[in-house]
Symmetry: C4
Subunit: 311 residues, 4 copies
Amino acid sequence: MAVFRKQKFNDLGLDTKTPSDGYRSLNKDGTFNVKKLNVPLFERINFFHSLVSMSWWRFFGIIAGCYILVNLLFASFYMAIGVEHLTGIDGITDFDKFLEAFFFSAQTITTLGYGRVAPIGIPANIVAAVESMLGLLSFALATGLMYGRFSKPSARILYSAHAVIAPYQEINGFMFRVVNPQNTQLLEVEINVTLSMKRENSELRNFYLLELERPKVVFFPSTWTIVHPITEGSPLYRLTENEVLEKDAEFIVMIRAFDESFSQTVYSRSSYMATELKWGEKFIYLIQRDKDGISVDVGRIDETEKAALNP
Amino acid sequence: MAVFRKQKFNDLGLDTKTPSDGYRSLNKDGTFNVKKLNVPLFERINFFHSLVSMSWWRFFGIIAGCYILVNLLFASFYMAIGVEHLTGIDGITDFDKFLEAFFFSAQTITTLGYGRVAPIGIPANIVAAVESMLGLLSFALATGLMYGRFSKPSARILYSAHAVIAPYQEINGFMFRVVNPQNTQLLEVEINVTLSMKRENSELRNFYLLELERPKVVFFPSTWTIVHPITEGSPLYRLTENEVLEKDAEFIVMIRAFDESFSQTVYSRSSYMATELKWGEKFIYLIQRDKDGISVDVGRIDETEKAALNP
Amino acid sequence: MAVFRKQKFNDLGLDTKTPSDGYRSLNKDGTFNVKKLNVPLFERINFFHSLVSMSWWRFFGIIAGCYILVNLLFASFYMAIGVEHLTGIDGITDFDKFLEAFFFSAQTITTLGYGRVAPIGIPANIVAAVESMLGLLSFALATGLMYGRFSKPSARILYSAHAVIAPYQEINGFMFRVVNPQNTQLLEVEINVTLSMKRENSELRNFYLLELERPKVVFFPSTWTIVHPITEGSPLYRLTENEVLEKDAEFIVMIRAFDESFSQTVYSRSSYMATELKWGEKFIYLIQRDKDGISVDVGRIDETEKAALNP
Amino acid sequence: MAVFRKQKFNDLGLDTKTPSDGYRSLNKDGTFNVKKLNVPLFERINFFHSLVSMSWWRFFGIIAGCYILVNLLFASFYMAIGVEHLTGIDGITDFDKFLEAFFFSAQTITTLGYGRVAPIGIPANIVAAVESMLGLLSFALATGLMYGRFSKPSARILYSAHAVIAPYQEINGFMFRVVNPQNTQLLEVEINVTLSMKRENSELRNFYLLELERPKVVFFPSTWTIVHPITEGSPLYRLTENEVLEKDAEFIVMIRAFDESFSQTVYSRSSYMATELKWGEKFIYLIQRDKDGISVDVGRIDETEKAALNP
């Protein structure tokens, strides 16, 4: 009889046939190791995203390049019309004239308009009128992007370099640690940890959503150790360090929070490979108390110490 | 006795009496086939939406048109005041004078202000002061819109051209495929498929929310085949290809996701008509593995191959 | 023994002692009939909201007023410094000089800078340098607000002027109708209807969240009749028209939706008083079908026809 | 046998070992009393947040400072090139020349460009072209930030200075009061109260999420008294005033709402210490009715009156 078995794997949106030899699906910076071929150009390119995400050096380089290019173009227009239609041009050689036209163009596109050099006659005036309008529109776009870059929300969460298998109550737990390094608040923080492991004698992989001690916190002012208790229901139950390495485990982490400084929802992603897992260690305590209150030593986020595992 | 039967149809917000002869309610581009009559003008027009959604050519056309129009208007004002109240006007004919006033207006509205031509006396100065203020405000609006267009979030999801009825485990399933063509992330993607079919011997239609193998994924880095398993509870259960055609089925798809490049929630919609359904075919596998990792051949999203259906 | 009875009233955030003589708590435009006394000034005023919500006439009036005021102020500064520190001032009387200083100020604050009049000497140059900087900042604020006004999301939903008590299946229902007058989409629309009625022999009021036939729709392309079936569990069960009037009923409606044109969540509110309720009428059918598809006659949203109520 | 006890504490994201001698973890202004040490500089600083959150005086101070600094820098460039490359420089001493170069720079960076002073020759023109471009970009950033500050959403909710333990139905309740002081709407308001108390004979603390009479309201037009009924399940059950003081209780409040004036989700936080708790008092009634409708006397939000507690 026809039977439908509802799959119990975590709905992660990743493929179940990812390569199995130490392949990392999610990079530490939150990008995925997937290339896309034959994507229609128009569909692939997201100008806005590119311009907002690139480095500041590159962004300013592009703006400066466009500024020079557009001024060269308009200088050529003024040359073609004839620089005698610009007042105050003193240059004698064509190169000098071109340079003066270039600077006039720069004064026009920024709407600076000193007026020492100014257009006379219809053609030069038309070009100048067009250029100043385009200048206003394109500088506004550039500055909009600049502000967009500046105000782009991002969850700046620090992850411990390693995860650990440490004693937890009377059993053991998979643990890693995150820190909110800023003084701004992250609110209603939700965390989601998926374990991906090779199936036995197969190139296929299973994905498991790990049950966490606390999947959500209301505030995240400083530090948080995320714990997956390795109970009987856990896919890690009774697995040894070697087995986890052989199964090529990858722990994929996603954090969602409301970032109050940007008034927006932000996401953070990271992953731990089996090789980034320390067995029988636990994280040291980061919070210090003195008479003034509490302080958190963020610099020691990665520090662990030996801790005998429960049997 | 009075009885209240809770309707079990999907709450789609569409009418149950839509036309039944091959009528498509939702277009491939996500718009609905509904015209609205007698809407009060003020309620109907959404200037912001129109200006943000129109093509770039049209948008720039409107801006250029307004720029010319407003300058014509202000040139007329300066002519009415008398061009002798502008310094540096050399024109002799009225047409030449009007052109010079026009270019002066352009220099004023963009706040370029070369000053070769400048207002003298109270009336010309008043007009120029008003024009420069309006210029600042209206160019800012234009450039705000330009940035709004540029940064407008949209879920650029590619849909397979056809859906298929393919074998799924020991039964069959209704399937279609979507691809995220960009390198930016779509997170917490939720999908919703509604089937609309004509009732027997009636012009009315029923709407069913189809149960999906996975209604939600956490990540959507590359490709996803959405599957509705045709179990006994499915409205497609035991229907033949001809019956589905006769019932004039339409599968209406809505996808919601968080687009990380825009830090916003985005929606995508599409639909499949009964005539866009291939029976006994399945989608080919898009993911290729090599030593560098995984790649997805997006260009083959539509490719299917024969696959015998389960009885 | 101490007993704690969990209150079953709807959690609406309104008071249970609102006046009972035909008092409307929620106006048709979505504002509440509550005045606030003795609010600290700083807490009460929300400049941003005021400037974004006021009428366009008022907004432009304020901007024009500020523009004139600030120029008057700076003109006074230039007069105090002495107009001999501005080149090109031709005025003889003090009033003429003041006007020229005023127009120079306007040319400076808009960064127009013709240069026919220009500052000479340290004091005039300092004032001009400060004015141009302030001009850039304040015009940017004005134009930011203008764009904020223009792009302000609002759910433009039309409500039928009356609600009806009409037959529904084998019982009766409380119904009203809403229309999306625009061609843009409202998605995942949720509706919430609360009934407020006077208690018997008391000035207190009860609030009931009404159970709806469909509390949520995925799409809202055209029209939607919201139905509350008057079952035995309904607070309207077996009430007559007179009783509903005596109990001074008010139906408070809130709609939430995702507006795709603004990519934001929007809210709409309205209310129906007992006196705006038609008994034994039903809404006429708005959707027309022809060979081109479907059209909705929005102009007839309020039209009803007689319909005998079920006993 | 290994046992896993799921912790029942509220998932607040705070530490269970916070100091216990009257220490306040959450300040009245919503910030936390936690210092962070050794945070990498790059991770700690959030320029956007700092610039958007600082006081207006400081913000304008920074902008004015930058304006002066950048103009000093560019004035030095023009001096280095030689002021003979600027037309209209009248100064004789170097200081006068520097000042004129400074003012020319200000006219260039704001794109004012009177033109009385204008660059001649290639080097001066290059510097001016660069300066005007940088001016456009950086002023746009400044003004973007200004608008960002102006339109920054914040839940301006007023809290009563004290919380009370007052009779509630036949038992008692923990209560405090909040007021929406503005005329704009807060919608779908959710509230969350956590009680933190010292464990007996331990420096550790327990965190309890308090069950509320109404954890959510649809509207919040005026005033709302939040009530935690002290039932048998409450951590406050049968505790005396002295015990609550000894246990160093802190009530941590978080409110989330949709602010319609900003079309955004906003959060508000506050806390009440055991010493800010009045036993046997209840809040006076704020709502007054007259023939015009309802008014709320916000100025009396803190007023309480004696009320005998239930046993």
